[in-house]
Each structure stands twice: as structure tokens, then as C-alpha cells.
């Protein structure tokens, strides 16, 4: 394109990118300090605080817990989202629009409201602070992300393919397994990934229903920050940033980042 950015545009762009990166760079830099307090590394980079993470099982446990919770809730969310997306994408029926709005509604509800609703409800049915409670709550909040991406790939399907399969004698299950599923795999995979990430990052809702034995990583970090901001929590956060950067590169190569972000946010 021949329309180029002028000097003002590029200056703004530089400041904007600096603004976006500043807090992340700050976390990554402070994590390498050799001192016992928050400071930029003055005499050489030190791995002192990264080593300290290894001696701090609370963060390691929370990381493993979040990983398992994310995998489980993303998988269940996709299992619920695929049939629901096929229903919405492939059928014209009364109540289709309200049904879709209902399935996407957890995006409109502030997580703090969901958090205290789950706390109240889980306490009354006796699963407050349990693993089961967290999994159920996470399925609900990540389901809309999965649904939206599966829906996007299912909407473009040609109905003739399905009719052809039926006319050749395929059962509904075979048609789904051999015809539909392979075609919507990109949506299913990217839906699972965004659901996993949303679960892994979630704080506001989880903090209400997490107990000492079911603490997710963001909750663990938040509780630590509330108490004290030290190089240890900074090193943990820096480790998360590095892992996310690796994940971003892998996702960009495989799923495509732009596709992933279509499902993020609520509008």
C-alpha cells in the first residue's frame, strides 16, 4: 500500500509500544536482581530468585494445579460447545438466537458476581473449596470462548456434504466423526486453546472459591502480592511471561494468533 505512516504516527506508535511493554519488561528485569528487595539488577544478572522458586513448593503446586484445571475445564467446555455449536450453526429453529445469547452470557456477567454466586451456591450444596467446584465454575466461564470459535468454523460448513454422507448410508455418528469433525477441527483446537488460557489466567472468580488445597497460580500470586511485593513473586511472574512468549510463538505458527483473538473479549 502506498499510504505510509508519517513521523507523528511513528512517534505515537513508539510511545504506545513502550507503554504496552513497560510493565512486562519491568517484571522480567527485576526478576534477575541479586538483592533481597525489589531493585533492578545492578551488578550482573542473578538467577537467585528463579532458584528460589524451586524451593517454594506453594508456587510449583499452584502452577501444576492451574495446568490440570485448565486442561480439564477446556476439554469439558469443548465437549459441551461442539454439539451446541452444531445445533446453532446447522439448524434453523425457534429460539436459536436467544439460545446463542444464553450460551454466550457468562461473558456479560462480571466475574466478581459469578465468584460470589458460586461461593454461595457451592457452600449450600457442600462442594465449596473442592476441586469439583472449581472445575464446574471454570467450565462455565470458558465455555463461551470455546463456543464462539467452534461456531465460527461450523457456520461455514456446506450442508451438501452432510446430505451426501447420509444418502450414501452413513449413520449420524459416522457422519459427525468422518465428515463434520475433520472440517471443524481448526475451530475446535483454537477454541480449546483460548478456553485453556482463559482458565489458566482467571483470578477474580477463582479467588472466591479457591481453598488452600485448591489454589490456582493467579490466586497464589495475588495473595502473595496482597501480603508483600518481593523479588520471589516477580520471578514467578517473569517465568509466566517467558512461558507465554513461547506459547505465543507456537500458536502463531500453528493456529494463527489473529484467529485466536476473534474469540477473546465479549463484543
Amino acid at each position: 500500500m502506498y499510504l505510509k505512516n508519517g513521523p507523528i504516527g511513528l512517534l505515537f506508535h513508539t510511545i504506545f509500544i513502550a507503554f504496552i511493554l513497560a510493565p512486562l519488561v519491568m517484571v522480567c528485569a527485576v526478576a534477575f536482581t541479586g538483592e533481597g528487595f525489589i531493585s533492578l539488577p545492578s551488578n550482573g544478572l542473578s538467577l537467585r530468585w528463579f532458584k528460589a522458586i524451586a524451593n517454594n513448593p506453594r508456587f510449583i503446586d499452584a502452577f501444576n494445579f492451574s495446568l490440570g484445571l485448565g486442561v480439564l475445564s477446556a476439554t469439558f467446555a469443548v465437549l459441551l460447545a461442539v454439539p451446541a455449536a452444531l445445533a446453532i450453526a446447522r439448524f434453523q429453529f425457534r429460539g436459536r438466537e436467544p439460545l446463542m445469547a444464553f450460551f454466550l452470557s457468562p461473558l456479560m456477567i462480571p466475574h466478581v458476581v459469578l465468584g460470589l454466586a458460586f461461593l454461595k451456591f457451592f457452600t449450600s450444596i457442600g462442594i465449596s473449596g473442592t476441586y469439583l467446584g472449581l472445575v464446574i465454575a471454570h467450565i462455565i466461564i470458558v465455555m463461551p470462548f470455546a463456543l464462539r470459535l467452534v461456531l465460527a468454523s461450523a457456520t461455514g460448513l456446506d450442508p451438501a456434504l452432510e446430505r451426501a454422507a447420509y444418502s450414501l448410508g452413513a449413520t449420524p455418528w459416522i457422519t459427525f466423526r468422518r465428515i463434520i469433525l475433520p472440517l471443524i477441527v481448526p475451530g475446535v483446537v483454537s477454541g480449546w486453546v483460548i478456553a485453556f488460557i482463559s482458565s489458566f489466567d482467571e483470578l477474580t472468580m477463582s479467588i472466591f472459591i479457591a481453598s488452600p488445597s485448591t489454589t490456582t497460580l493467579p490466586v497464589r500470586i495475588y495473595l502473595h502480592i496482597e501480603d508483600t511485593i518481593d523479588p520471589l513473586v516477580t520471578a514467578v511472574s517473569a517465568a509466566i511471561i517467558y512461558l507465554t512468549i513461547i506459547a505465543i510463538f507456537i500458536l502463531d505458527r500453528t493456529v494463527g494468533l489473529e484467529k485466536l483473538f476473534v474469540g477473546k473479549g465479549r463484543a
Binding site: F91, R96, F103, P110, H111, A137
Partner: protein, 285 residues
């Protein structure tokens, strides 16, 4: 054709059951306890009282919390409109590989937990942090400056968290613009500023508006950033509800705070959506 009309409902049943049992029931129970009574020594008592709502609507303490919540959300939304729209425009005029790289840098933080991003701001904002040092070095401040526990600090950090949503939203609108409209305006002698004001902005208005709704709603219900940067004193509605639920243990009052927040958010989201569809329906279709 009963089989085909039943099929979509059968397919939706698993998700519907989970939603009804584990989302609608919890929300209903929160709505219910917001009418319960709470005694400091007696705990929660089953009753029907409007006490909690009256307390929230009449006490200056809560009025201040709601005003702060929506005030900060408004400022953050305005900042995101200006910064996000400008950045999306600059990005759309870049060519690859720069475009792809910078889009990744702008959107990538959405994949990092808000707690981690807010920690970065807490490190920058402290009285010994880089911002304080820079202001003193430039002679703009005589002593250490701390943005921690200030509304300004909360607004800056929240803008950082929310602005990627605005960039994607405007970016999506910019993709639909025909670049020759801009070229035509330039060739007819319009200045760059006029082109942006009269040609670009009106065409991306739907993107700006839907981005604004999202940013406003998310800012009003943000918890981590106001809690960490704002601290105990500068409460917003979500952190106040958190305190009522987990510290004071006054669940009925916390529930009433949450119900009012939910109603306000849903009203804003739905009415703004209606407005956009009425005014810009033609653009979307």
C-alpha cells in the same frame, strides 16, 4: 419434521443442563440472599428486607464507591478510545513483517494473567520506582512520587489492561474500509487530519463503539488491578463486594452490591448494543 426440530435442542441439552444447574441457580441464590438480613452477632437470617439496597443507595460511603467505579471506567474508556483507535490506524498502515510483529506485541499481553501485568505497574509506580525516578530526573517532581493507591495509578494500569480490546475492535472495522476512500480524500486536497476526522473515524465508528462498551463493562467489573494498585482504601464495587463476602462476612450486603453492579453492566451493554445496531445496522449487514 419433529425429528429435525428436536435435534438442535437435543444437541444443546448437555450445555443447557450445566448452565441451568450451575449458573442460573447460583445467580438466583445470590439474588435471593441480597434480600436477607445480616446481624453482626447473629449472622445471616432468612427474611425479606430491602435493607441492604436502601443502605447502598442512601449511604455516602457506597455512593462514593459506585462513583469511583464508573468514573474510573469512564476515564479508562476515553483513554482507550484515543490510544486504541490511533494505534489500530497506525498498525493498519504498516506492511508486513512489522504489522504482524506489532500486532502480536499489542495483543500478546491479553494472554498473560492480569495479576502479572498489574504487578509490573506496581513495580513502576512505587516511590522508588522508575516513574518516580524519571520525574525527579526531569525536574518535574521535587521529591519521590508514588502513583500507588491513587485513582490515576488505577486508571493508567487499567488502560494498559483494556487497550488491546479496543485495538482489535477498531482493527476489525479498519479491515472493511476501502483504502481508496482515503486516497480520494487526499487527492482532493484534504489534509491528513481532515482525512482522519471526516473519512476514517466515521467509517470505524461501529468498531470504536463496540470496543468502548466492552472496555467500559470490563473496567467497571475489574478486580485485580483496582485491588492491587488502588489498595484497601480506594475500593471499587468488585473489591467492596469481595471485602463484604470474605472479610466482613456480610453476604447479603455483598450480594446486593453485586446485583446492582450486574444490573448496571447489563443495562449499559444492552442499551449500547441497541443504539449501535439502530444507528449502524446498515454498516454491519
Amino acid at each position: 419434521m419433529t425429528a429435525t426440530s428436536r435435534a438442535p435442542w437435543l444437541l444443546s441439552t448437555p450445555a443447557l443442563v450445566i448452565y441451568l444447574a450451575f449458573m442460573i441457580a447460583p445467580l438466583a441464590s445470590v439474588f435471593l440472599i441480597s434480600f436477607f438480613n445480616f446481624e453482626f452477632y447473629g449472622g445471616i437470617q432468612v427474611s425479606f428486607t430491602l435493607k441492604n439496597y436502601i443502605e447502598i443507595l442512601s449511604e455516602g460511603y457506597f455512593y462514593e464507591i459506585y462513583a469511583r467505579t464508573f468514573g474510573v471506567a469512564m476515564v479508562v474508556t476515553l483513554a482507550c478510545v484515543v490510544l486504541g483507535t490511533a494505534e489500530a490506524y497506525v498498525l493498519s498502515r504498516m506492511s508486513n513483517p512489522w504489522k504482524g510483529l506489532f500486532l502480536m506485541i499489542v495483543l500478546g499481553p491479553l494472554l498473560i494473567s492480569v495479576v502479572v501485568r498489574t504487578l509490573g505497574w506496581a513495580l513502576l509506580f512505587g516511590s522508588t520506582g522508575l516513574i518516580s525516578q524519571a520525574l525527579q530526573a526531569l525536574g518535574l517532581a521535587s521529591g519521590p512520587v508514588s502513583l500507588m493507591y491513587t485513582n490515576t495509578g488505577v486508571a493508567i494500569a487499567l488502560t494498559h489492561v483494556m487497550v488491546p480490546f479496543m485495538v482489535i475492535s477498531v482493527w476489525a472495522s479498519l479491515q472493511r474500509i476501502n483504502p481508496s476512500t482515503e486516497a480520494a480524500a487526499l487527492s482532493l486536497g484534504a489534509s491528513q487530519f481532515t482525512v482522519i476526522r471526516r473519512v476514517i473515524v466515521p467509517q470505524v465508528m461501529p468498531g470504536i463503539l463496540s470496543g468502548s462498551i466492552m472496555v467500559f463493562a470490563l473496567s467497571a467489573s475489574a478486580f485485580a488491578t483496582p485491588s492491587i494498585v488502588g489498595g484497601r482504601r480506594l475500593k471499587n464495587v468488585p473489591t467492596a463486594a469481595y471485602d463484604e463476602f470474605l472479610n466482613t462476612l456480610n453476604w447479603p450486603l455483598g450480594a446486593a452490591l453485586a446485583v446492582l453492579l450486574l444490573i448496571a453492566t447489563v443495562v449499559v451493554l444492552i442499551s449500547a448494543n441497541r443504539l449501535i445496531e439502530r444507528r449502524y445496522g446498515a454498516v454491519f449487514n
